[in-house]
Amino acid sequence: MSITILKAGFHDLIQDLGRNGYTHMGISPTGAADNISFRIGNILLGNDANEPGIEITLFGGSYYFNTDAIIALSGSIFTSAIDGDIIPFFKPIIVKSGQTLSIGSTTSGARCYLSIKGGFQVPYILDSASTHLLSNTGGFNGRNLQKNDEIICASSDDMEIINNKKIKIDDDRSILRVSKGLQYDLFDIANKKSFFNEEFTVSHNSNRMGLRIRGPKIYSKLSKDILTEGLPLGAIQIPGDGDSIISFVDHQTTGGYPKITNVITADLHKVGQLKPGDKFMFKLVSNNEAETLYFKQEKSLKI
């Protein structure tokens, strides 16, 4: 029971919802960059929400099925076909043994997810299947998938499609909502004005650890870094060069740059869909409002 990579995508990674419980040992939580789309893929198949899937970035590859399987594609729409026949996203699809799934380029955001009924099977490291590239750990041999890799998947006797649900995702990426960061008060009014009133562009020098964004230069009132402290997911760090960094799923567990704001949890999935060249602006909301939006979003995923 497996699939074989005939041609690897740009950056195919095994992910689940992350490796929690070990940041005090310096271990990044990692996990799917767009955890909403990731979970929807599993929900469509009747899987546990945490079942390992393949995260595909910008363009995918060719995946040969050595077994019958039910799969789902979720996230940004990538041109995709099975043996040449175009297939839809957000729908459970039966694949026969001997067929090849080809995933081309994205037509919108940065990432899509290939989920399979029963999940892909890789060794669990500290209770998670997620790949953390920086430490070469987890997923498939701690790296992105390459040609000829064979990924084990659960056997699926039950080929009945039980699920055909529609879940609406907020995918407007022109505005990212943020709440005040721990060092918000270290920035003066002029710098905050630039931060909230000007546009940012995602730089090519971005990855799952952090997105470097180009826009107005932002400077804190401090001339040096702060005392190293824990880093929240989505924190927007401002290094001395004035170029903002959104810390993301593979982030280092601690950091010493001042944090002006944090992307709210309900908008983190949008960060996972940003690609180099995308433009957006920040909008400030309170932590209370952010929490309400988050619980509302979680409720919409429970069916």
Partner: protein
């Protein structure tokens, strides 16, 4: 000196507990104590914690409300609980400061004005304390280095620093537990395994560990590494 901590939201899903803003062993002891209390008593409400020099960041589990968690954490400091603290350990780390294991020692000589032997003597005579683990898996933030050994980080970080490398970055010393990129000046290497994914609870280096370095020759390094 006991500092009353400030408990405040750090984001919409995390809370920072701040114990003043100075690096000190007293504050460090409070951080170690409360990190253990939180890991023991609050594990059903939290995903992760990150202790650091003067703070503990607490990341909430998905279904936990911020107000509820702020209350629970503040309660820890009003109703003092006692827990069994794991004893603070001192570990002795053998370091070979020779040859290919110390590619940046000449850079440190240039910045400090010390001879190679003076650098080694000063480096092994420090009383080192692991304030916390952060940055990358198992990486210790170590305090206690002789400040005259201060050497600026490399302008261009190395893409690969071998596991076990002992280094100086600014006024701190550090050890790379796993192979990773890094920009510190490498002055030696230990053959000890300092981090294992499958054995994380028994890691030699943890928050609160005291470290003593001692010097070994290259022959000893190779001999001991072989016998592991």
């Amino acid at each position: 000196m006991i500092i009353d901590p400030i408990v405040k939201p750090a984001s919409d899903r995390s809370i920072l507990i701040q114990f003043g803003s100075k690096i000190s062993e007293e504050i460090h002891e409070q951080i170690v104590y409360y990190s253990n209390v939180i890991l023991n008593s609050q594990s059903s409400y939290i995903n992760n914690i990150s202790p650091a020099y003067c703070s503990i960041l607490v990341r909430l589990k998905n279904d936990v409300m911020m107000d509820e968690m702020l209350f629970k954490l503040k309660d820890i400091f009003t109703n003092q609980t006692t827990i069994d603290m794991p004893p603070s350990k001192t570990i002795k780390i053998p370091v070979c400061y020779e040859g290919e294991f110390s590619p940046d020692i000449e850079r440190v000589m240039k910045y400090t004005g010390y001879s190679k032997n003076e650098i080694i003597t000063k480096h092994i005579s420090g009383n080192y304390l692991v304030y916390f683990i952060g940055f990358s898996p198992g990486f210790p933030y170590i305090g206690g280095m002789d400040h005259t050994l201060e050497t600026p980080r490399l302008k261009t970080p190395r893409t690969v620093v071998p596991a076990g490398s002992v280094a100086i970055g600014g006024n701190q010393t550090g050890i790379y537990p796993i192979q990773s990129p890094g920009g510190w000046n490498i002055i030696g290497r230990t053959y000890l395994t300092l981090f294992e994914w499958e054995n994380i609870d028994d890691s030699l280096i943890k928050i609160g560990t005291k470290i003593e370095f001692y010097r070994i020759t290259k022959d000893e390094f190779l001999k001991f590494r072989k016998s592991l």
